[in-house]
Amino acid sequence: MLFKNVAELVELAEKEGVKTAEIMIRQEIEVTGLSREDIIAKMDRNLTVMEQAVERGLNGVTSVSGLTGGDAVLLQKYIKSGKALSGHTLLDAVSKAVATNEVNAAMGTICATPTAGSAGVVPGTLFAVKEVLNPTRMEMIEYLFTSAAFGFVVANNASISGAAGGCQAEVGSASGMAAASIVEMAGGSPKQAAEAMAITLKNMLGLVCDPVAGLVEVPCVKRNAMGASNAMTAADMALAGITSRIPCDEVIGAMFLIGQSMPSALRETAEGGLAATPTGKRLEAEIFGKKQ
């Protein structure tokens, strides 16, 4: 392994004068023994899947349960009305994150980033930022490798599973990964990417996993919306030169400990939080029939 934590990742990228994306590619070559071309081609295919999922979601889908779908369409219409209060790029990212998760809930094809439940944030932000930065295809692939590098650290040092660490581990991780990727694509330094990840994750700490009826729909789709906007905001803050007082690796460490102390009712068991609200319970009964 070339790096085990964010500090090592940043140090290596800066020493070599390359993006963290490049360090991730080099590590992948080392670990898998595959050629650079094969690894890039594989990520290119994942990128295509993300592109198609966003497109499909923006055309409107409905989930099997009927709980989610159509919000991406509503948001795009609202953006086009010119009445939106927050910026165009921010809302575009939100709508594309929602689009992806609506497709996921509708049993469409998506690429888990890092999980299916949090699959909207990375592509949502990517395809919104793309409109502004006009990246090459290779730069878009690098965006995903940057996300992979930062997500790799979280996965190995904390968790990317809602059952283990709550939603902070899923949408939180995805948002931190996306923030780092936005910064690198916009020309920020590896250090700034790490700051963006730290700022994002700090604002996701403690987020519980409480899906209604245990389905990856409510509140998952809208958590992806907030995750995308959180990532965009943190990326802009880092690019403005703002730093996190708590280093990124320590934020990840805090996230791990918070996940450990989270009660099981709030870790993907559909027993607490929004799942346990009167409406959450009613929806569950409607979807699965009477409980035994």
Partner: protein, 220 residues
């Protein structure tokens, strides 16, 4: 390090909605199919824990059947797999079990046709990663943290050393290994966890060995 590759984080490509309840379920079904080595006539699926509670909403049922039809996690035929199974003449039955399993996402799959049958227990541990914990009443222990292969072979002398010799030739180090059999001289199993990525040509080399019936990649 639990996660080794960039594609553990950006991936897998899959049919939604859940990496554990859909993609993982499809992968367990597909392992069963691969081990059975052909399309079965009958598939009996027993669901436990969270799988039993939420399988309909998550498409766990269609994902498992899709896997048994040899579909990958991203195959768009997964949502219609029950119908496709019927068209293919495969009888599918589901049962929801009351027993509390060790892991919340557990399924037992029984496949059969006129000539043979197979029974397997799989668990889906998150992010689409799975473990097979039981095969034809053999208990399997795989951490899932390292690449692993399963070798089905005849219980004959020399088979184990032939397999480890091939691993050595490919400069693959064994981290953990288990051998088991039901009856002396009959079907036996080797579960081998290694430190390095397992290349396809290595699998093919082992498959060519005398007395080896099947080699399955359990963990990438």
């Amino acid at each position: 390090m639990k996660y080794r590759s960039a594609f553990d984080i950006i991936g897998p490509v899959m049919i939604g909605p859940s990496s554990s309840h859909t993609a993982g379920a499809a992968r367990i079904g597909r392992v069963a199919r691969t081990l059975f080595a052909r399309q079965p006539k009958k598939a009996e699926i027993l669901l436990y824990g969270s799988f039993a509670k939420t399988y309909k909403g998550h498409g766990t049922d269609v994902a498992i059947v899709g896997g048994i039809l040899d579909f990958d996690t991203f195959d768009e035929r997964i949502p219609t797999s029950l119908q496709l199974a019927e068209e293919a003449g495969m009888e599918v039955t589901f049962s929801v079990e009351e027993a509390v399993p060790e892991h919340p996402n557990t399924v037992r799959i029984k496949l059969s046709d006129d000539e043979k049958d197979l029974e397997l227990v799989g668990i889906s541990i998150g992010g689409g990663t799975i473990e097979i914990t039981e095969l034809n009443s053999f208990q399997l222990k795989l951490s899932g943290e390292h690449p692993a292969i399963l070798v089905v072979h005849n219980d004959q002398f020399g088979v184990i050393s032939s397999v480890t010799h091939i691993l050595a030739q490919h400069e693959i180090n064994i981290g953990h290994m288990e051998v088991s059999r039901k009856e002396k001289g009959k079907m036996a199993l080797m579960v081998i966890e290694v430190d390095q990525k397992i290349a396809q040509d290595l699998i093919e080399d082992i498959e060519k060995l005398h007395h080896v019936t099947q080699v399955i990649r359990m963990v990438e």
